[in-house]
């Protein structure tokens, strides 16, 4: 599906159901205006997020990926966000090695009460992605073959 030409970039969010998805809801209920680029995928816990989801999203052409979970120590499942933090931090450091600008991926913590904070996070991240511009796409005649190989590698 094409992104809105000239206006938006493709930004995908993975949010835990209990805190950050609720925080995004709170932002909506509070009518806190946000850029429209972000598409949110709801997962039960940030610990459910496989770093490969993020890789796949970026490889498939997303310009930015935002992950948000409960604040450390406040996880609905006690320790899911600790696992998430470890995995996502490793991924973050790994991105430049893969030739992906690390600024295209970020993870943060937003609780269900922090509607305003969510607005700030989204606004700032969207600005950051717009500054980076559209992600370089894998193109050319061998593109589909390259992608298939990369996916197989994942």
């Amino acid at each position: 599906m094409p992104v809105l030409k000239g206006k938006e970039l493709r930004i995908v969010g993975f949010l835990c159901n209990w805190c950050s998805y609720g925080g995004a809801d709170t932002a909506g209920v509070g009518r806190f205006n946000q850029p429209t680029d972000l598409r949110i995928i709801r997962v039960p816990c940030s610990g459910r997020i496989d770093p490969l989801f993020i890789m796949k999203t970026l490889l498939n052409g997303a310009d930015g990926v935002l992950v948000s979970g409960c604040h450390p120590r406040d996880c609905h499942y006690a320790e899911g966000n600790f696992y998430a933090r470890r995995r996502l931090e490793v991924l973050h450091r790994f991105l430049p090695i893969l030739g992906i600008e690390p600024g295209r991926f970020e993870y943060t913590w937003v609780s269900a009460s922090e509607g305003q904070r969510w607005q700030q996070v989204v606004t700032r991240f969207t600005e950051q992605i717009h500054k980076l511009g559209p992600a370089p796409k894998i193109a050319g005649p061998a593109a589909s073959e390259t992608l298939r190989q990369m996916e197989a590698a994942l």
């Binding site: 599906m1 493709r10 995908v12 159901n17 809801d25 009518r31 946000q34 039960p44 498939n60 899911g80």
Partner: protein
């Protein structure tokens, strides 16, 4: 799969900034979509009927509703599709209200975004499978944390409903803040006379087990089957033997212990029973002040105790209780007002808190109900009340209104006049918030019948002048500065979340806001539930509130617990992890990472395999992202389901 898509207008809430008809039209082109329409209010009865009819008419086997957040109406629509004969998990929601129409006004961008969210939902739905719940047994006992008026109400209601109740109280007596009050507004009846009998009921009720001077150490398990470790703190008194006679108190030579019950007005003995109506009426030794425990000398209490219950070697003790539901009723604490340097920051003895004043007014308090200045014991002539200390004040990080201070200040102004007819009271206020039944009439009485002088403005500073205090503030109605000579200043200190609230929330796995107040499940529709099934809230732990509201919430929480326990078995959430035994290599990583111990190792034809205990699994999916083989898959959030959403969005 034949999918039906229903795009909700939500009146103008969505339609105002999203072209729902265009979204529906676009959806018809998505893979698997057989039917799409836009409806006015999908959640209304005709809206739900439309879904049921469409399922039958078009032989749909999956439904997407694009409307509000799934946190709002996912359950509603799951029931709807179930009514039409579909499995409730063959349903997906696209959140086009909170995440689209309410956060931007660009109709083109919103319509495009809503369309994409519907596409994501539809493509996930293609991978959905019917899921069935399992039934599991529940333990019909309830734990109530906090023995203030909200906790007492919840405990008694649950106990009356036939449940076994475990009531855990942090201090040595139940009663909470209400027990410290002299009178209550707006009826000015005696607080302890109302609460006292309820406290006795708690003590005498056969269904209630009370752990006083105890705290929650650990919570594990899940709705219906929690396991709670309670720490019974050492009191150095064997409570099974203690009769509460109080002889130890009369003989204890250490008379300078902090009197917590009386808010530090006056001192008490190292061994003490906080007040005559205490429940349980048992003595406790304050180890910081006990000469025997500090210096090894004394032990007089042990000598005089007629029942021989003093035990200087007592240690903290732990008990484990199994319960099916938990009610948090941990109340509030006063804001630390000493950050207000302009009010003396605690340097002036005659600047006290409202709760200290309350103890002073109480006939069973440290002054026997006489209003005396802490500095010299004289009766004050001019008493100044300052409202909103730690309330509605951004500069100290407390922008919220505590809500009940206006009322208790009016009450204290009235009581002051009752105690000291010659006294003059002044009240510095910002706005008067008296919104309850008979509340505004009450504050008016304070002004009109009891001649309290209400001055609208903040106090900028208090300083000693001679042996009185000069209170300087603004009168914003007159536009002038005012100075009042005060003999006693009472600060209406606002409510803070209870000390340790955050720590307990983490144990209970419930959310709290930036001030430490617990978050309710939904601000309108789930005022006593939390996001964790089986954990409920009552009283000020959820946010400052007055006694009637706390009691109402206590009862509401009790009725939720009774409702939960009205079934003998609960249906488990089938969104749990399942291990594909063919792919499992028995590495055991999932067993190590599962926070709930919900995965066990089994032997399958001589091979090690993992297996999920369905009723224990909480559905976090940590195992799924840990499993190197993709063998463990969280149902309804499988790798394929999540990746199908990604693919719907990002395709080259």
């Amino acid at each position: 799969m034949k999918i039906g898509v229903f795009v909700c207008h939500c009146g103008s809430n969505i339609e105002g900034t999203v072209d729902t008809a265009a979204v529906a039209a676009a959806a018809r082109e998505f893979p698997g979509v057989a039917f799409a329409t836009d409806t006015m209010y999908t959640c209304s009865e005709p809206g739900q009927e439309e879904i049921v009819n469409a399922i039958k008419e078009h032989q749909l086997d999956g439904v997407v509703v694009a409307s509000c957040t799934p946190r709002m109406h996912e359950q509603t629509f799951r029931r709807t599709v179930e009514r039409a004969g579909l499995n409730r998990y063959l349903f997906e929601m696209a959140n086009i209200r909170e995440h689209v129409s309410w956060i931007g006004k660009d109709r083109e961008a919103n319509t495009n975004k809503a369309t994409e969210l519907v596409r994501m939902a539809a493509s996930k739905l293609l991978h959905n499978r019917p899921l069935l719940s399992k039934q599991f047994d529940i333990n019909k006992r309830v734990l109530i944390i906090g023995g203030g008026v909200a906790g007492i109400q919840a405990a008694l209601d649950c106990a009356e409903g036939g449940l076994e109740v475990i009531l855990v109280e942090k201090t040595t007596t139940i009663g909470g803040k209400m027990a410290k009050l002299d009178k209550t507004f707006p009826t000015v009846d005696c607080s302890c006379c109302i609460l006292g009998p309820r406290m006795v009921d708690v003590a005498q009720h056969p269904n209630i087990t009370l752990y006083a001077y105890s705290e929650i150490e650990e919570v594990s398990g899940y709705v219906g089957n929690f396991e709670v470790k309670v720490k019974k703190k050492a009191t150095y008194v064997d409570w099974d033997k203690c009769t509460g006679c109080g002889i130890c108190m009369t003989k204890c030579p250490s008379k300078k212990a902090t009197d917590f019950f009386n808010e530090g007005i006056g001192k008490t003995t190292a061994i003490n029973i906080p007040f005559p109506q205490a429940i349980p009426k048992k003595a406790k030794i304050d180890a910081n002040f006990c000469m025997k425990l500090q210096k090894g000398k004394c032990g007089i209490c042990a000598k005089v105790c007629p029942s021989g219950c003093i035990d200087f070697t007592q240690q903290d003790e732990f008990v484990t209780e199994k319960v099916g539901a938990i009610v948090a009723a941990t109340g509030f604490d006063l804001f630390d007002w000493t950050v207000y340097g302009e009010y003396g920051g605690g340097r002036y003895p005659d600047v006290i808190t409202s709760l200290q004043y309350e103890r002073m007014l109480s006939a069973s308090g440290p002054t026997g109900g006489h209003i005396k200045r802490p500095s010299d014991g004289k009766e004050p002539k001019n008493v100044v009340f300052i409202q909103c200390v730690g309330s509605r004040d951004k500069s100290v990080g407390r922008p919220y209104c505590t809500g009940f201070c206006c009322m208790y200040t009016a009450k204290q102004a009235i009581l002051t006049k009752d105690h000291l007819p010659e006294a003059q009271t002044y009240v510095f206020y910002m706005d008067i918030r008296a919104t309850g039944k008979n509340y505004d009439e009450f504050t008016r009485r304070a002004m009109e019948e009891y001649n309290a002088k209400y001055i609208r403005g903040r106090v900028s500073m208090i300083y000693p002048k001679g042996d009185s205090l000069l209170v300087r503030g603004a009168d914003t109605l007159m536009g002038t500065q005012v100075e009042v000579d005060a003999d006693l200043v009472v600060l209406a200190v606002g409510a803070d979340s209870s000390a340790g609230a955050a720590g307990l929330a983490e144990k209970l796995r419930i959310s709290y806001d930036s001030y430490g107040f617990y978050m309710e499940g939904h601000p309108k529709l789930k005022p006593v539930e939390t996001n964790t099934a089986g954990v409920y809230l009552a009283g000020c732990c959820q946010g400052p509130k007055d006694i009637p509201s706390s009691v109402a919430q206590g009862s509401a929480a009790a009725s939720k617990v009774l409702g939960l326990f009205s079934k003998d078995k609960l249906a488990s959430d089938p969104q749990v992890s399942v291990v594909d035994i063919k792919r499992c290599i028995g590495c055991g990583k999932c067993i190590k990472t599962c926070p709930f111990g919900a995965i066990k190792e089994i032997d399958f034809r001589g091979m090690k395999k993992a297996e999920v205990i369905e009723t224990v699994c909480q559905g976090c999916g940590i195992c799924t992202s840990t499993c190197p083989q993709g063998a463990a898959q969280l149902q309804h959030f499988t790798d394929n389901q999540i990746l199908s959403e990604v693919n719907a969005l990002c395709q080259f």
